[in-house]
Symmetry: C2
Subunit: 478 residues, 2 copies
C-alpha cells in the first residue's frame, strides 16, 4: 500500500498556450464595438484566466526555492518523509494581488467608464468613482496585510493565541476607510423585532466590531479546518464559487429567467429578467455595483485556487501554509463587508461554523488540545482514523457533560474507564467527525467528503437566503 | 583592540514613559479649542512620537525571534562571530505602515476637515477629499509591496540582477492610481529650452516610465550604499529630515521670515511670511496640501529611523536587511511623485548618485564585482581599509581607460604590474573612496564621514534648489 513520493505534477503547455488567446480576447473585448454593457467584467475574466495560468506555472517552479529557504515540511499522513515545499500560498497571494492591482485602470479609469455611457441599456456612472476606488484600494491593503502576516506566521511560527488577533490588524485599513468615507453603520432589523427596534438600527461602533470579527472568523475558520491535502484550498474554492453564483443573480442579464423561490417557501413569486433588466437588483445601480465589486475579487480568487489545487491535490506536491488561509479568508471578509452581504456570506461558511462550534471545547481549554488534531494515519492500510485527545487527569464535570452530549449526537467517540471516567475523546473537528460517522477512509476520499459537505452547505445557504429569509426580512435589503 | 559583542543596548523606560503624555497631547490637540490651522499635522507628530517609541522598544524585543527563524548573520567587520539579528527593517516597516494606516481617519475624516473650516485663516477643503484618499492609499500599497518584496529578498536571498525590477513592481499601485485619477503628465520646461518645446511639455507614457525609474533609483541607491553599521538608516534619516525641512517652507507660518536667496545667486528677492501667509506656497492650497502629504509620510519615517538607528549604531546590535532600504526608498519615491517635487528629491540623493555613477563600471560588468564590496577590516588595528577587486585576466581597454581616469581624480587606487597591466583596483563605492582619500579609519568614523557627506549634499541641494534653479525656471512650478 505504501507509495513513494510522486514527481511534480505535469502541466500541459498546450493547454496553457491555448488559454492565452482566450484570456487576451476577454481583456481586449471592452475596447471593441459593440461595447459590452459591463466592460470591466470581461477584463476581469481575462485577468482571471491569466492568473490561473500564472499560478499553475509558478507554484511548482518556485517550490525548490521555498525548500532552500527552510520553508518545507514532511507530509504527516504519508509513508514517505520527503520535504514538501510549504507556504506556497504566498505565490498564490502575490499573483492574486498583482492581478487585482493591474486591474485598477480597467475598473476605474475614464477610458472605460466614459465609453460605457454610450450604451444606454447598462447602469453606469459617468463621473469618476473616487469613493469606489478608495474602497477598492483599502481592500487591497487588507489583503496585502493578511498576506504579510500569514507569511510571517509561516516563517516565525506564531503561537495560536498570538495569531488570533492577526486578522483584526489586517482589517484596520478596511475599517479606517469605511470610517473616513462615512460608511453606513445601519442594519435592517428582522420583521419580528421591528416593533421593538424600528426597521433600521444604527449599530455605530458595534458595526466596526462586527466587521473586524467577521474578518477574524472568515480567516481563522478556514485555518482551523486544515491538515489534509487540499482541504484549505477546496473550502476557499467552493465558497468563492458560491459567492460568484450569488453575485450573478444581481447582474443585468440579457435573457429573462425565473427563480422558483415559491418552492423554497417564499410567499412572493419572483420573476425577473428581460433584455437588460437588472436581475435581482431590480434596477438598483448601487446593488449592481456592489456585486460587480465582489466579482472583481472573487473571479481571480477562483482562478488562483483552481491553479493551486491542481498541485495541492492528494498526494500533495506543495502545501499552502497559513498564507493561503489568511488571504482567502480576508478576501471573503472584504467582499462581505464592502458589498454588504455579510449575512449571506456567513451562510456559505456553514461547515466552518459547525467545525468552529465543535472545536470550542478544545480551543478554549475545556478539553486537552494536542498540537495537531489531524486524523491519524495508518500506514498499513493507507486509511485515516479519528485522532484522539487523551485526558492526563480526569475531565472536569463541565467537560465530561459536554463530551457526553456530543457523544449522544455521535459527534465524538469516547473511551471510558469501567469506573465511568472519560479517558480519551476523538478530537473535536469536522474531519474526525466524518471519520467517526462514515468509518475510516483514505485521505483523498476524506477531502472529497469535505467538499461535498461544503457544496451541500452552499445549496442549503441559497435555500435559506432566497427562501426562508423572506419570512423575516422584506425587500428592504440595505 | 579586539572587543567582545556588547549586550542589547539599554532603553530608558523613564524616557519612554515621559514621551507618552507629549505624544498624546499632540494627538488630542486638534480636538481642543482653539482648533489649530493644520490639525492633522499635530496628530501626525503625535503618531510619530509613538512610532519612535514602538520602534525603540520592539526592535530589540523581537531580535531573538528573528535569530530563531534563521534571520541572522555575523558582522563581517568585527572580531566576534556572534549571530546578529538581521532583517529588523521588517519591524520598522510594519510599525511605520501601521502608523500611516491608523492615521487615515485623522487625515481624511469629516470630524477634522469639517471642524477645520471654522478657522478662516487656514487653507482647507470642506468637501471630502476622495481623490487625496485614493492617492494616500495607493502610496500605502506601494510601501507594503516594497516591504513584502524586501522581506522576501531577505528570506530567499534574491540575486542582484533579479531584484533590480522589484521596485518597479512596488510602484505599480502608484502608477495605476495616478493613471486612473488622470494624473498630470506635464512637466515645466527649463527657460533655455522653451523656444524649442514651449513652457509645458506632456511626457505622456514617458512620465510613467520616469516615475517607475525614480522608485527603482531611490530604492536601489540606498541598498547599494550599505555594508557598515548604521549606513543605510543614517542615509534614510538625513534624506527624510531634508525633505521635511523643504516641506516646512511651504506651510502657512504664523511668523514672517526672510530667506536670503540673493546670497545664493538668485535674482529675485524672496520675502514671505506674515500672519498665516502661506510660506513659499504663496497661498496655493494645492502646494500646501502636497507638502502636508509629504510631511505625513516623512515625520513617522524620521521617527522609525531614529528609533532603529539607536540599535543599529556602531557596534550594531541588529541589522536592517534589505527591507529597510526598500521601504525607505519607496517612501521617498512616493512623496517625490505624489507631492510633485521629484527633481528636488533627487538633489537630496547627491551622495547616492555619486555612489551609483562610481559603481557603474562594476554594476555593469566592466570591472569584476565581488559579492561584497564593503571595506576590508583589519582586526589588529580595528581600522577599515579600502577593499579591492582583483582582475583574474587583464582588463579590457575600455575598463583600463575608465579606471585610469578615476585614478587621476583619486577616486580609486590601482595596483599596476611593472608591465603596465592593472592587477587590482579598490572597489568602486563611496565608502572605499572615503578611505582612499582620508586614509584608514574605524567603522564608526566612516559612518560619521558618510553622514557629514549626506548633510553637505543636502545643504548643496537647498542652495541649488532655491538659488541656481531661479536661473533656469521661473515661478511656474507645477
Amino acid at each position: 500500500m505504501a507509495s513513494s513520493q510522486p514527481p511534480p505534477r505535469p502541466i500541459s503547455s498546450t493547454l496553457l498556450l491555448a488559454l492565452v488567446p482566450i484570456a487576451s480576447w476577454f481583456i481586449v473585448r471592452p475596447f471593441l464595438d459593440p461595447i459590452p454593457s459591463l466592460p470591466a467584467l470581461y477584463t476581469s475574466i481575462g485577468f482571471s484566466i491569466f492568473t490561473f495560468m500564472a499560478t499553475l506555472y509558478l507554484v511548482p517552479a518556485l517550490g525548490p526555492t521555498f525548500v532552500k529557504a527552510h520553508l518545507s515540511g514532511r507530509d504527516l499522513l504519508k509513508v514517505y518523509a520527503t520535504q514538501i515545499p510549504e507556504s506556497l500560498g504566498l505565490v498564490c497571494a502575490s499573483v492574486y494581488i498583482l492581478a487585482l492591482i493591474l486591474f485598477i485602470p480597467f475598473a476605474f479609469s475614464d477610458s472605460l467608464t466614459i465609453r460605457s455611457t454610450r450604451t444606454p441599456e447598462g447602469i453606469f456612472v459617468s463621473e469618476f468613482p473616487h469613493s469606489r476606488l478608495s474602497v477598492y484600494l483599502s481592500s487591497l491593503l487588507s489583503l496585502l496585510i493578511a498576506t504579510i502576516l500569514g507569511f510571517l506566521d509561516d516563517v516565525f511560527d506564531i503561537r495560536w493565541r498570538h495569531k488570533l488577533p492577526i486578522p483584526i490588524i489586517a482589517s484596520i485599513p478596511l475599517l479606517m476607510v469605511y470610517y473616513a468615507e462615512r460608511g453606513n453603520t445601519h442594519i435592517v432589523v428582522p420583521l419580528p423585532l421591528r416593533f421593538l427596534l424600528g426597521s433600521l438600527l444604527n449599530l455605530g461602533p458595534l458595526y466596526y466590531l462586527y466587521m473586524s470579527l467577521l474578518s477574524t472568523f472568515a480567516t481563522n475558520s478556514i485555518n482551523i479546518l486544515a491538515g489534509i491535502n487540499g482541504s484549505e484550498v477546496s473550502q476557499a474554492l467552493i465558497i468563492a464559487i458560491s459567492v460568484i453564483l450569488n453575485d450573478l443573480l444581481y447582474l443585468p442579464w440579457p435573457i429573462g429567467f425565473h427563480l422558483p423561490v415559491h418552492l423554497l417557501g417564499s410567499n412572493a413569486e419572483v420573476e425577473f429578467g428581460g433584455v437588460w433588466s437588472a436581475g435581482m437588483a431590480y434596477g438598483s445601480k448601487e446593488l449592481v455595483e456592489r456585486h460587480l465589486f465582489s466579482l472583481y475579487f472573487m473571479l481571480p480568487l477562483v482562478a488562483v485556487c483552481s491553479g493551486f489545487m491542481y498541485h495541492n491535490w492528494y498526494p500533495a506536491r506543495v502545501f499552502p501554509g497559513d498564507t493561503l488561509c489568511y488571504v482567502t479568508g480576508m478576501a471573503f471578509a472584504v467582499v462581505g463587508i464592502q458589498a454588504h452581504f455579510s449575512k449571506t456570506l456567513l451562510l456559505f461558511f456553514l461547515p466552518q461554523i459547525f467545525n468552529f462550534v465543535l472545536s470550542c471545547p478544545q480551543l478554549f481549554g475545556l478539553v486537552p488540545c494536542p498540537r495537531h488534531r489531524v486524523p491519524r494515519f495508518d500506514a498499513d492500510t493507507n486509511l485515516l482514523h479519528p485522532s484522539k485527545a487523551i485526558f492526563m487527569k480526569p475531565p472536569s464535570k463541565l467537560a465530561a457533560t459536554v463530551l457526553r452530549i456530543l457523544s449522544i449526537f455521535k459527534l465524538v467517540v469516547l473511551t471510558v474507564h469501567p469506573s465511568g471516567v472519560i479517558l480519551e475523546t476523538t478530537n473535536l473537528t469536522i474531519l474526525n467527525f466524518f471519520l467517526v460517522r462514515l468509518g475510516p477512509m483514505n485521505e483523498k476520499r476524506l477531502v472529497q467528503v469535505l467538499m461535498c459537505c461544503q457544496i451541500g452547505g452552499s445549496v442549503l445557504a441559497f435555500s435559506v437566503r432566497y427562501g426562508l429569509a423572506g419570512l423575516v426580512y422584506d425587500g428592504d435589503r440595505r
